[in-house]
């Protein structure tokens, strides 16, 4: 077995040093009824690289890569061009194969990356501070709600109907088991919901998404002010981090906590994971934050260095009194995010955001010209919702047969509701001919 360096001679010498005659003797504390005498039956034995690669490539071959066809899917995961540099740097073994930086003297690489990542996330969201990442946007959203409960000592969360249903369900699952109340507003593809009507003296937070799952962008400044007046926090969810290059950031609108998905920068679609949750807050809430935090300090020689800090919030110190049970986060995905953003810089990031908006405007205009298609959004970033004269899931299947990934039927996210709504995204990766192909095929199948 190519990954196992011990030779038979090594094993004999080591067993002798230990003072036993076989490896099986070392398993003697295992009850004999549970101790197997040989490898598990019914499973294949070891295989070489070539064979394994062949098997996995065959499975990969039974998928249609989004980049091989015109693709307009978003709804929480976005296909962007990732510069070659990102993946090459991420694959450096010193980043890839390191553990959580518990020994700071030999982890300054990871720690400085996290410090820079936290700064980038704070800048993007317009917030004071950010943590070193969460699992993904949905878990960040649920953790934000629980953090709001701790801060306000209240127990109710009001979720906008524009919140991604996976984020809503993740939060509701936590609510059920952890013991807080969630009022989830009905799906609001055209907006117009009255969130403040749900806010009472027991409301810890209001959760909105910008752009929302239907692509609408809104200014939440007034909502933030109204929440504040009622003693509730405003949590703003962002599933398309690139939108922060064009839109007024949640921090400037008055958000207390921002929970976002960072996949758009540096990270592949990868069928839904691993992604990277972004979590940013106002300075005064730092000590109620979940997750790892990296802070600046000095070493014994007075030189600047970085360490994990405020760990008295965390499970390995506080055990049952921790702010969260999170341990591992999304370090490598955060690194990919950070490298991509470093390459883009101020100019690249804002231009890429505008380019995405331009593509979406172009697509919306093209689709408005298709008979039976109605664009719902007046204001959007790179994603919007249309209504079709027939079932959107069926339309998407027919488009797939023509090798076009024509958007996400809302019914897939909303458990069968909104059967005629289709959510479409356009990014810098979409060409004019992609849009031609979609418009033509849509006209044919409708």
């Amino acid at each position: 077995m190519r990954y196992l360096p011990l030779t038979e001679a090594d094993r004999h010498a080591m067993l002798a040093a230990v003072g036993v005659s076989s490896v099986e003797d070392l398993f003697r504390d295992v009850p004999s009824a549970a101790r197997r005498s040989g490898p598990v039956e019914g499973l294949p034995n070891h295989a070489g690289e070539l064979e394994v690669e062949r098997q996995l490539a065959a499975m990969a071959g039974r998928n249609i890569p989004a980049g091989s066809v015109p693709s307009f899917l978003g709804a929480g995961a976005y296909r962007h061009h990732v510069p070659a540099t990102v993946d090459h740097m991420v694959q450096r073994g010193e980043f890839l194969t390191a553990y959580t930086p518990y020994q700071p003297e030999i982890s300054q690489g990871t720690l400085q990356v996290l410090f820079e990542f936290q700064t980038q996330v704070a800048l993007l969201t317009g917030m004071d501070v950010a943590n070193a990442s969460m699992y993904d946007g949905a878990t960040a959203c649920a953790e934000a709600v629980m953090m709001a409960n701790r801060i306000t000592r209240r127990k109710k969360a009001v979720l906008s109907g524009g919140l991604h249903p996976h984020y809503r369900d993740t939060t509701k699952t936590d609510a059920h088991f952890i013991g807080f109340d969630v009022v989830a507003m009905p799906a609001a593809p055209k907006g117009g919901e009255d969130l403040m009507a749900q806010v009472d003296a027991d409301t810890a937070c209001v959760v909105v998404q910008n752009p929302d799952v239907f692509g609408h962008v809104r200014d939440y400044t007034a909502l933030a002010r109204m929440c504040q007046a009622k003693g509730a926090l405003l949590i703003v969810v962002v599933t398309e981090a690139l939108s922060l290059g064009l839109l007024t950031p949640p921090g400037e609108m008055g958000a207390d906590i921002v929970a976002a998905e960072g996949q758009s920068l540096g990270n592949a679609l990868s069928f839904g994971g691993p992604y990277v949750g972004l979590f940013a807050v106002k300075e005064k809430y730092v000590r109620q934050m979940p997750g790892r935090l990296c802070g600046q300090t000095v070493d014994a020689d007075g030189r600047r260095g970085f360490v994990l800090t405020l760990s008295t919030r965390e499970q390995h110190i506080r055990r049952e009194k921790a702010t969260s049970n999170i341990c591992t986060n999304a370090g490598l995905c955060a690194l990919a995010f950070s490298i991509h953003l470093s390459l883009l810089g101020e100019e690249g990031f804002t231009n890429l955001a505008r380019l995405n908006h331009a593509k979406a405007v172009q697509l919306a205009d093209r689709l408005s010209g298709v008979k039976g298609v109605e664009v719902l959004n007046d204001a959007f970033f790179n994603e919007f919702t249309v209504t079709l004269p027939r079932d959107a899931a069926e339309v998407v299947e027919e488009l797939a047969k023509r090798r076009i990934l024509g958007g996400v039927p809302a019914s897939r996210l909303f458990a069968g509701e909104l059967p005629e709504h289709l959510i479409l995204a356009a990014t810098e990766t979409n060409t004019d001919s992609d849009m031609d192909a979609l418009t033509k095929a849509l006209a044919e199948v409708l």
Binding site: V30, P65, G109, L246, G273, L293, R303, C327, G345, E346
Partner: protein, 519 residues
Amino acid sequence: MSMNSQGRPTGTGSADSAVPDTVTGNRGLQIEEPLIFEQDSPGRCGVDLPEVPAMNLRLGSVKPRTRIGLPGLAEPQVVRHYTRLSQKNYSIDTGLYPLGSCTMKHNPRLNEKAARLAGFADVHPLQPVSTVQGALELMDALAHWLKTLTGMPAVTLAPAAGAHGEMAGMMAIRAALEHRGEAGRTRVLVPESAHGTNPATAAALGFTVDPIPATPEGRVDLDAMKAKLGPDVAGIMLTNPNTCGLFERDVRAIADAVHEAGGYFYCDGANFNAIVGRVKPADLGIDAMHINLHKTFSTPHGGGGPGSGPVVFSDALAPFVPVPYVVHDAGGFRLVEDANGSTAFGRMKAFHGQMGMFIRALAYILSHGADGLWQAAGDAVLNANYVMARLKDVMTPSFEGPCMHECLFDDRFLKGSGVTTLDLAKALIDEGFHPMTMYFPLVVHGALLIEPTETESKAGIDQFVDALRALAQRAVSGDVAYFQGAPRLTPRRRLDETAAARKPVLRWTPPAEPALAAE
């Protein structure tokens, strides 16, 4: 002085070996690297984008953003920045990384290659299922291996990490209790030696954590455990092999007692690497167990994630498995994504789980096969016992008898020396090794928990052991200053963690502005 034919000296220079103060602050290959924000030149950019067409923005009442504050760098500067930072990290690729309970084993590059196949990496999670049959097949194949290796009938692949898996497992237990009409069972037994995530998970879900003491042999005190059972007990969270590196001999009796009392047995599978392919956890009577794919199945730790923590379930808990999950019928593979109208307890995260980790783990599993996993677990246990045997005369093992994949020492051997566990660990860094896990588990004083894993050679382990033996002997010989000043040969020496926590600086701020002050 010796010279070559061009007159270039070929000798080793003067014998003066003092480390110089350099002009740059760099030390040869150790290069000082400023923050990325300190390398800004406005207008510079590391990507070339097409011209943005003139357009009327469709942002409604939302104002377009003016300035963010991101630095501008060209591509070569970015490459150098991250290359230099990477060189300040210790990693498995660098050397032995014996962090107990973390299973820092070799990360095969085949796994990375497989995860980057366009058919996996470039697939959107909400594509029509007809276009992702291979992705679902891969999830199904991994699920099959995990169920077969554990002997358990059901699995969820959704959790994003081990701690997230614990959450899923304990939620399923809670759902099952609610289903039985016994939601009043709120007490969870957790051994004192448990990972911090266990009590944190149980407490987060509203359970009361009731600690179980350990015996002098480092195992759960069966009688004390039984005495704590009662009609309000939801279950037990037990790590096996435990965090002392020992197999819980009474595990069947523990399982039977918990079941008899109407509770469930959650097993923390962080240490599954010791027994994978040799013991099926189903045979130990468990109801749920998370498997850290980033430990046992070698997906890279990435400096702190991403992980992946699938959970296997017994028949009693299987109906409550969260969405999404893959089913296979005449029409091929499909996904169940909505929990409504079923007993599924809910959803753990967006989309379908850590697909990129599933691919890597399956590549690892297929490479090993049943016979390779058998051998890997055996070698992991042999390596740990060999380390124990070679160190037990100069350090103090906490417990008698064979260990599993990791061996535990406490600081009795340092008593009176003035050297602490931390000092010893820092001196080990100067010898070129990552230290062992320190001060965990909490059941012994000044713990040193060593897990070499199966992917270390005997020569590598011998060098590590020789270094540790020499350090242990030096510590007791009274050379305290050497240890308290360590490490000396690293990019940074000991860092002031107290100052970092007292006045947190959690982000860079431009020098012109005052530093961010706490409100």
